[in-house]
């Protein structure tokens, strides 16, 4: 005879016990750190001294800091990578999804940049874009055109970094789109085809609406990544004026080149608020539609 299983009575706090480890990790490493950063932003702390309380002084100075506004503006300009990334990665996903014989190889090839370290990729791009001896300018000049100053002159500085971001990111988003495409029932597309819809009409009226949740996800992730971009800028256009860069390199320069942690934290908190507001607006817009 089997032993009877005794079920303990349900206690109201049981779920919270299971949540505790996750909450503790988040609390210490995310919320705790954030509170600390907000605290630092109200002091003039630096790498070597704990600093004194300065209240909202850093924030007040930011309001009149042209460099900060340039960089924040550039961060939003950098959002241009989002539509390009989405168009490219969706196209690549559809190509791979089309059932071609060489789709597996193509998928691997397109995914390669994702597994290439950003720094390595950015250095390769930097060599390619070198203004005096780079392959691009050498070819360009051989065709009789003036050289393009990819790494030092506006707007090419941002364009160069964007190229690296797009090259690096579109394979990742291609995989997300591919997962979305696989999830669309074939019957829907077949029914539309039977009803006389052409390829473009099928794409417009069946595929795209079915991919809507994926599109929203990719738009959100890629735009937040674009606003937080750092590696590509740091490697590719290091040395260009800081006003050609975005907000995160400014935080890096303020903290690690100038050693002004308090001020860097104030820029970080401001960027966080901007990002939060941007994401909320983006979500509201998408939800309303």
């Amino acid at each position: 005879m089997s032993k009877a299983v005794s079920l303990r009575p349900y206690r109201a706090w049981t779920p919270y016990v299971f949540l505790l480890p996750g909450v503790a990790v988040l609390g210490v490493f995310i919320v705790g750190s954030f509170v600390q950063v907000v605290g630092y932003s109200l002091t003039d702390t630096n790498a070597f001294n704990d600093g004194d309380w300065v209240g909202l002084d850093h924030y007040r100075r930011l309001l009149h800091d042209k460099k900060f506004w340039y960089c924040l503006g550039n961060s939003f300009l950098y959002l241009l990578v989002t539509p390009v990334l989405m168009a490219l990665s969706l196209s690549a996903a559809m190509l791979v999804h089309a059932g071609l014989r060489w789709a597996w190889g193509l998928r691997t090839w397109l995914f390669l940049p994702v597994v290439t370290p950003t720094i390595v990729g950015a250095i390769a791009w930097k060599l390619l874009l070198n203004e005096d001896q780079g392959l691009l300018n050498t070819g360009w000049e051989a065709l009789g055109f003036d050289p393009v100053y990819w790494l030092s002159e506006r707007p090419w500085t941002l364009v160069s970094a964007m190229l690296v971001t797009i090259w690096k990111g579109f394979g990742y988003f291609m995989m997300i789109f591919l997962a979305g495409l696989v999830g669309i029932p074939r019957e829907l597309e077949e029914a539309a085809t039977v009803d006389g819809a052409g390829r473009l009409a099928v794409f417009r009226h069946v595929t795209l609406p079915s991919l809507r949740p994926v599109l929203v996800l990719v738009a959100l992730i890629s735009s937040i990544s674009a606003l937080k971009v750092f590696d590509e800028l740091y490697v590719t256009i290091k040395g260009a004026p800081i006003s050609h860069q975005t907000a995160v390199p400014l935080i890096f320069e303020t903290a690690f080149e100038q050693g002004e942690f308090g001020r860097a934290c104030a820029i970080g908190v401001t960027l966080f608020v901007v990002l939060l507001a941007f994401s909320l607006v983006q979500l509201l817009v998408v939800r309303d539609r």
């Binding site: 630096n46 790498a47 070597f48 001294n49 203004e131 005096d132 001896q133 100053y149 790494l151 030092s152 002159e153 506006r154 256009i237 290091k238 040395g239 260009a240 004026p241 800081i242 006003s243 903290a255 690690f256 080149e257 100038q258 050693g259 942690f261």
Partner: protein, 466 residues
């Protein structure tokens, strides 16, 4: 005993063991001093290991017999800023740190360096060449000791020069002449004669001071900017125009001095003004370029004094053993140890006693018939210039901010097409705001404006003729 209780007891035991094991410092263990150097490993590993061991032996009885253990950490040159800032913020910074003169000013301004006048006898802090140690006194305190130095020489690629109808001896020995030659050379060959860091880590402020021009004016509230005086505007404009005309590489605006050596060793630059110690690197990286290289005296400004770049050793203001750390810094920078380092590396020492070593004498024959002879010749030129060389860097905490502001401003002129007088006026306003936010300083913090004496000038000219 149920399994859960066993696990709990085990975890408790581990926690107690860990916490008791980590609590407090072992009173019998030697005092640990952490020394950070820049890019010396692996070439100088033996030298540094021996240096640290000898210091440990000499201080075996320190602190009642505990002795000292020196932990030597070598940091890549480009990473030192980030590593130092991150380590110090985490309370794990070094006791003694090697910094370039540029980083020194920044760390000192942030309060990261202990004053050494209370930790070392005056006889120690006065051991060094005044041109190098002058810049290390900030707010009335010696904040670091000078270690090894670099003055520039001119490296000329005879093969590349010939393509533009020039030779090492016909290259101009003043900046104005060189700019003119650079423009013509570029027009004729499409190549670059020279380069200079104008934007990133701009060398123009030190060059302005090297000309004997002072970009400051004295006021009742201390120094204020004087960047719009005609001589300064003319000098800066001349370089910006040369860049805009395409006669300087694009990296002149966006890369620091490292780009010059890279371009030269890749055979893309005909003349490079850089440290004599770079010759070894060029010999290893590109023997063909090294074989075409001739060495000449560096171009100086109107004062005839070379700029000296100073590597320094400072003691962290957070060191738990500042007195011992200061002794370690003094030990590493002592005459004997610097002479040995110079012999091994080819860098210049900061102690006059070391400069008397025969190692710094010119080679017997001045024909460049062997690699070692050329390196020795370059070294002797640098050493000759050293007694009157000066670090053309104002000794004030605001200097890193002023220099960064200048670099950022000049990039606007170079890359965004701003007019130079407007840019300098803008930079001047920013300088005034920075200077006003610091403790007032007067002209005493500025480098000397007296020209080099005739003796040294004559020696330098003789060197150039050779």
């Amino acid at each position: 005993m149920p399994m859960t209780r066993l696990t709990t007891l085990f975890a408790l035991g581990v926690m107690i063991a860990v916490t008791t094991g980590c609590s407090g410092e072992d009173d019998a263990a030697p005092i640990t001093l952490e020394l950070w150097t820049l890019a010396l490993r692996p070439t100088f590993t033996d030298y540094m290991t021996d240096l640290c061991e000898r210091f440990e032996e000499a201080h075996a009885e320190a602190d009642g017999g505990r002795g000292v253990q020196v932990v030597w950490v070598d940091v890549p040159f480009n990473a030192v800023n980030r590593k130092l800032v991150a380590a110090s913020a985490a309370g794990r910074g070094p006791d003694v740190m090697n910094l370039s003169d540029r980083d020194f000013a920044r760390v000192a301004a942030l309060g990261g360096l202990a004053g050494l006048d209370d930790l070392l006898p005056a006889s120690t802090t006065q051991l060094y060449l005044p041109g190098a140690s002058r810049v290390l006194v900030m707010d009335g305190q010696t904040r670091a000791l000078p270690w090894y130095l670099t003055t520039s020489v001119r490296l000329c690629n005879a093969d590349l020069l010939a393509t533009g109808g020039l030779s090492p001896d016909s290259v101009a020995d003043d900046w104005a002449g060189l700019r003119e030659q650079a423009r013509r050379y570029h027009e004729q060959t499409g190549r670059f004669l020279i380069s200079l860091p104008l934007g990133e880590s701009s060398e123009l402020p030190t060059m302005v001071l090297g000309e004997g021009l002072t970009p400051f004016r004295e006021t009742s509230e201390g120094l204020r900017a004087d960047l719009t005086r005609p001589e300064v505007v003319a000098m800066v404009s001349a370089w910006v125009e040369l860049y805009r005309d395409g006669a300087l590489p694009r990296s002149a605006a966006t890369r620091d001095h490292a780009a010059i050596t890279e371009l030269y060793q890749n055979g893309q630059l005909a003349v490079a003004q850089t440290g004599a110690n770079m010759l070894r690197r060029i010999r290893d990286a590109n023997p063909a370029v090294f074989a075409d290289t001739a060495v000449r005296s560096a171009i100086t400004g109107g004062l005839g004094r070379s700029h000296v770049a100073v590597m320094v050793l400072g003691v962290s203001s957070r060191s738990e053993h500042p007195a011992l750390a200061a002794q370690l810094a003094a030990w590493v920078t002592s005459s004997e140890n610097q002479t040995e380092l110079a012999r091994q590396s080819g860098v210049l020492p900061s102690t006059p006693a070391s400069l008397n070593d025969p190692f710094f004498a010119p080679p017997d024959s001045l024909q460049h018939d062997s690699a070692d002879r050329m390196i020795a010749y370059a070294r002797s030129i640098s050493a000759e210039a050293l007694p009157e060389a000066v670090a053309f860097t104002p000794a004030m905490p605001a200097w890193p901010d002023l220099r960064r502001t200048f670099s950022e401003g000049l990039k606007r002129a170079l890359l965004d097409g701003e007019a130079v007088p407007d840019t300098l006026a803008d930079i001047g306003r920013e300088w005034d705001a920075i200077l006003a936010s610091h403790r007032p300083v007067n002209e005493e913090v500025l480098p000397p404006t007296e020209p080099a004496t005739h003796r040294v000038m004559a020696e330098m000219e003789a060197g150039a003729e050779r």
